[in-house]
């Protein structure tokens, strides 16, 4: 007789921890390999993937779980990037590049972690202020209004000369981001969003997404759950902005463009709204793919054939790919489901003794 899966009380602590332990071990090996064995180029991609994971998984918290489809999250990323960089920029550099900073800001130089936390909190605060009104809107109206928020952020960045250097490049941010701190934040994001998704609070969010009126009638505070998700997601996005700023070192308001917003949304939708593992898969897939395409569009030799550089071709291919996914697989690759490590382990465990006996 095929033994059924053991009831909960028999499932030992060991098997419950096996999944996370294996994930952490895999991540550790992955980081060690990319830290010690991989070249600069691969390391950069590993860092970019980590930052994108934070951006996309946290966007999933708002767009995927609560259905509040924000197009303005890049605005929070910009807030995080500028705020953290203003805090970590060496005082001597501030005196040269930003002579008109308010005194206290000009004299302060914080370590990376507190600056990142403050940047995230600032993004969350802005999200709270903007969100307490925006979250009352519906569907496409929220999307357009959040896009409006992104425009507001950009207008302010371009014009607030004495703090942001206006449209000019904001340069000299210390390159603090490493494979390690980026991926610690990324793992934390994955863990937190995953736990929220499985908590009662996460069920509130989903119920409000799937049927607002039914959720309201069951006593779910739709507005509160949306707003909380929006703020938490803004916090993590602000953190990602800080990590990105300390990775890229110099940026300008143009870096936080609509194109950037779109590429993050592409990863989210291709991975599958509402699925954390889907988000991670979407990020890895699209980041690697667009990196390959970006290299290809610089032109290459194919045998005797010389392909000239076509800048913009990679964007076109991504757009076509995106439409194909929306038409043929509208729920994304994972379709809102998760990869269940324990289930996979159980299957492996079940398969192995079978093989041994045969």
């Amino acid at each position: 007789m095929e033994p059924r899966t053991p009831p909960v009380d028999q499932s030992s602590l060991r098997s419950r921890l096996a999944g996370p332990a294996i994930l952490i071990a895999l991540l550790g090996v992955f980081l060690l390999v990319s830290h010690f064995l991989a070249g600069d180029y691969i390391q950069r991609i590993v860092i970019i993937i980590g930052i994108n994971v934070i951006l996309v998984v946290s966007l999933n918290l708002s767009n995927g779980f609560t259905g509040v489809f924000s197009l303005g999250h890049v605005g929070f990323m910009a807030i995080g990037a500028y705020a953290a960089s203003l805090l970590t920029l060496p005082v001597s550099l501030k005196a040269v590049n930003l002579p008109d900073l308010p005194g206290w800001l000009g004299a302060v130089a914080l370590p990376f972690l507190p600056a990142t936390l403050i940047a995230g909190l600032l993004a969350a605060l802005v999200a709270f202020l903007v969100g307490s009104s925006l979250m009352r809107l519906k569907g496409a109206y929220i999307s357009v209004a959040t896009l409006g928020f992104l425009v507001i952020v950009q207008v302010i960045l371009v014009n607030w000369d004495q703090v942001t250097r206006g449209a000019r490049t904001f340069a000299g941010v210390p390159p603090h981001s490493t494979v390690w701190n980026v991926w610690i934040w990324a793992s934390l994001t994955i863990f937190v969003v995953w736990r929220i998704g499985r908590s009662a609070f996460g069920r509130d969010m989903r119920s409000a997404r799937d049927n607002e009126i039914a959720a309201l009638s069951l006593g779910v505070s739709v507005l509160r759950s949306r707003l909380l998700a929006f703020c938490m997601s803004a916090f993590l996005t602000g953190v990602a902005g800080s990590l990105w700023a300390h990775f890229i070192s110099s940026f300008s308001p143009k870096s936080f463009s609509f194109t950037q917003a779109f590429s993050i949304i592409t990863m989210l939708v291709i991975g599958g709204l509402g699925s954390v593992s889907g988000s991670v898969i979407g990020v890895v897939l699209i980041t690697v793919l667009s990196e390959l395409l970006r290299n290809a569009e610089r032109g290459f030799e194919l045998g005797a054939l010389h392909i000239p550089p076509i800048y913009g071709a990679s964007q076109i291919l991504m757009a076509v790919l995106f439409v194909l996914v929306i038409v043929f697989r509208p729920a994304g690759l994972m379709g809102g489901r998760e990869i269940n490590v324990r289930e996979i382990l159980r299957r492996i465990a079940r398969a192995r003794p079978g093989k041994g006996a045969a």
Binding site: S133, A145, V151, I156, I326
Partner: protein
């Protein structure tokens, strides 16, 4: 300049920019009314028409021929967009359609970057579009007057079209209830294609006026106009044609008002104020000025 003249001058400015927004917003509103699709790529039709007109002018075609070809190109591009990108998505979720329209935008803009280089090009408007008539202290740019006149003619023609012609009436039926319209034997695909054609034609006209106004064109030139048209149609109530027109003129007035009233240190922030006001308005009238305030049915 007397106060009255100043008022008149600013009014003309507001109506002229509002007319451009109105012609853009109509296209968005018509499509949204029927399909619930926010067609972000509508702005890129401006770009398509302007580039085609510019290329033909540099080939030596007279302005009017080139302009007509530009408008035709916008219309065809709009029809192609509907057929290729949006028709496979009939009945899809609002957000899926919005995201598809973003893809279309990215596609068209990058195609334009590849074909025409990312840098901007001068758009040589003919003399009659650049002349200025002085009436006392008033400064009347011919472009403003022409924009107002063209918008008036096109809006009147559109009103007659949706009220008097069969396909226009079918279009209104489809925007009230797509399924019921289909059950009544209305060829929905034809209605939708017509809506796209009309909206795209107007976008083509706006493109020429806009390019003449700015004096140069670039592959990303559609972003700002379409964003403003969005705001206009949201102010008026997404999907309502009169609402879109009213919203466009309100937006034009608002912009000119802010330009005049904001202290000069704050004028660069004008667009931030416009969007902040939009968000505030949505809180009090979540469906815009003319949008239906009907409660969702349980």
């Amino acid at each position: 300049m007397s106060a009255l003249e100043l008022l008149l001058q600013q009014l003309i400015n507001a109506v002229s920019i509002g007319s451009l927004y109105a012609l853009m917003a109509i296209g968005l509103a018509m499509v949204f009314g029927i399909l619930r699709l926010i067609n972000f790529a509508h702005g890129d039709l401006i770009m398509v028409g302007s580039y085609v007109a510019l290329l033909l002018m540099t080939l030596g075609l007279p302005f009017f021929a080139a302009a007509a070809a530009g408008v035709a190109a916008s219309t065809l591009a709009g029809l192609a967009m509907e057929r290729i990108a949006y028709r496979p998505l009939r009945g899809a979720h609002e957000i899926s359609m919005l995201l598809t329209s973003f893809s279309v935008t990215i596609f068209l803009e990058n195609l334009a970057i590849i074909l025409f280089r990312p840098t901007s090009r001068a758009f040589p408007a003919p003399a009659f579009l650049r002349s200025v008539i002085h009436m006392g202290q008033l400064r009347l740019a011919s472009l403003d007057l022409i924009a107002i006149a063209i918008a008036a003619v096109l809006l009147l023609a559109l009103t007659l079209f949706v009220r008097r012609t069969n396909i226009g009436i079918a279009m209104r039926a489809a925007s009230q209830d797509l399924l019921a319209a289909r059950l009544m034997g209305i060829n929905v695909n034809r209605v939708i294609a017509t809506a796209f054609a009309i909206g795209s034609l107007m976008a083509g006209v706006v493109g020429l006026l806009w390019s003449a106004r700015v004096g140069k064109i670039d592959p990303l030139m559609g972003f700002n106009p379409v964003l403003k048209a969005f705001v206009a149609s949201v102010i008026g109530g997404l999907g309502s044609l009169p609402g879109a027109v009213i919203g466009a003129y309100v937006l034009g007035g608002l912009e000119i008002l802010l330009q005049g009233l904001l202290p000069s240190a704050l004028t660069p922030y004008r667009d931030a104020f416009v969007f902040a006001i939009l968000i505030a308005l949505l809180l009090f009238r979540p469906n815009g000025i003319l949008g239906s305030s009907e409660k969702e049915k349980i």
